[in-house]
């Protein structure tokens, strides 16, 4: 084994963090970071799907024929996504209404499918689990950080609660909550990540 299980886990948190380093899963990164609860919820939903589909695909990698592997991956990922959707409907209905179409869209998000194809189809269960958990948490942290920046600056709130230390003179920078604001914010984040990652 080239890398230890711990390394498989930690790479998702920094060196291969999905939206900033792999530049994958950008659609929800842009759309779901208007508010912190949306970004955080999206991250957790993706984490659940990733861990589940990674482990299952790694377990079944000997059974899945090469020619139809993509179809099988999609079925596995889609199953977990619908489970998440039903669970969110049952327990966090308000968040479900806010996130709407972006929950089923996790199926076509490149992260679960990409990890299945690039990693789990070749590796054992334990590294796949670590990979899924690491990637998922990395994604959650990335989305949450972006959402904090956008919500605090754009709306003057945090988790929908007004922030008092900004003072009464604080004017919300509402550009941050718009779609172009998401692009600019993500671009700056990528820039910072690239600067930090330079050797």
């Amino acid at each position: 084994m080239a890398k230890s299980v711990i390394q498989e886990f930690t790479k998702g948190l920094w060196t291969e963090v999905p939206p900033y380093r792999l530049v994958l899963g950008l659609c929800p990164t842009l759309a779901m970071t208007k508010q912190v609860d949306m970004g955080f919820g999206m991250g957790l939903a993706v984490t659940f799907v990733l861990v589940g589909s990674n482990v299952l695909i790694s377990l079944l990698r000997k059974v899945i024929p090469k020619n139809v592997r993509i179809a099988c991956f999609i079925v596995v990922v889609a199953t977990f996504v619908i489970v998440v959707e039903l669970l969110m409907q049952a327990y966090t209905y308000e968040l479900f209404l806010k996130m709407g179409i972006f929950i089923p869209l996790i199926v076509v998000n490149c992260i679960p499918l990409g990890r299945a194809e690039a990693f789990c189809y070749k590796k054992g269960v334990l590294p796949s689990f670590a990979d899924g958990l690491g990637m998922g948490l990395g994604y959650t942290i990335s989305l949450t950080v972006l959402a904090i920046i956008r919500e605090v600056l754009g709306n003057g709130t945090f988790f929908n609660q007004p922030i008092s230390f900004l003072g009464p003179t604080f004017q919300p920078f509402s550009f941050m909550t718009t779609a172009p604001g998401a692009f600019v914010c993500l671009g700056l984040m990528l820039c910072i990540m690239n600067l930090l990652g330079k050797k």
Binding site: I64, N67, V68, V75, I82, L86, Q89, Y91, Y93, E94
Partner: protein
């Protein structure tokens, strides 16, 4: 040939197992999802048209079988008596079905209020059937047995100008709620008796 057969079997099995799991999860979460939908989708409309009731209509509810369907009824207590019942009916609008909540006073069969819940009507045009209180207020106090029509057809209701189809959709929903009410009235009265005020 053998290879092809294997592919076929594997994909079919994947589909079947996944379908089975999803059916199980759905069955497990159905009741909870139904409650959440009542709370967040129908809830606001019910609470709005039942303004002034002294109980929580969302928890004071019962179900009646109507043919193959099961309908949910929400009871409102006014002046210490549980005398109002709210339920859902649908009519055909411009962008699909328009679900509405109708509240009826069971003592005199008159409408207490009408509220549109989730619809897919054109924003700014047909969607006004939900936001324009002037339109829905026209139903207040009318008998539920009335065959509602627009003024142009000799009826009592002013349609929203520019949104005739959506207005008719709501009217159709109110008329069908009248049919449901007439069909199930004896069952409704039976169930209401068991509710403490």
């Amino acid at each position: 040939m053998r290879e092809m057969l294997k592919l076929f079997v594997v994909v079919t099995l994947f589909g079947a197992i996944s379908g089975g799991i999803l059916a199980g999860v759905r069955a497990g979460t159905q009741e909870r999802i139904e409650y959440q939908q009542i709370k967040f989708v129908k809830g606001p409309a019910i609470l709005q048209i039942m303004k002034g009731c002294t109980n929580d209509p969302l928890t004071t509810r019962f179900k009646i079988k109507d043919g193959k369907e099961e309908r949910a009824f929400f009871v409102g207590v006014f002046d210490g008596k549980p005398n109002t019942v709210a339920f859902e009916a649908t009519g055909k609008g411009y962008g699909g079905e328009i679900p509405i909540i109708v509240a009826v006073n069971v003592d005199n069969d008159r409408i207490v209020g009408v509220g549109v819940t989730t619809h897919r009507e054109t924003p700014g045009v047909g969607a006004r059937v939900q936001s324009d209180a002037k339109f829905t207020n026209q139903f207040k106090g009318q008998s539920i047995k009335e065959p509602f029509k627009v003024k142009a057809e000799g009826g009592k209701i002013d349609a929203i100008s520019g949104a005739t189809v959506s207005s008719r959709g709501v009217m159709g929903a109110v008329v069908s709620s009248g049919e449901i009410y007439n069909r199930l009235k004896s069952n409704i009265l039976d169930k209401m008796k068991s509710i403490k005020s």
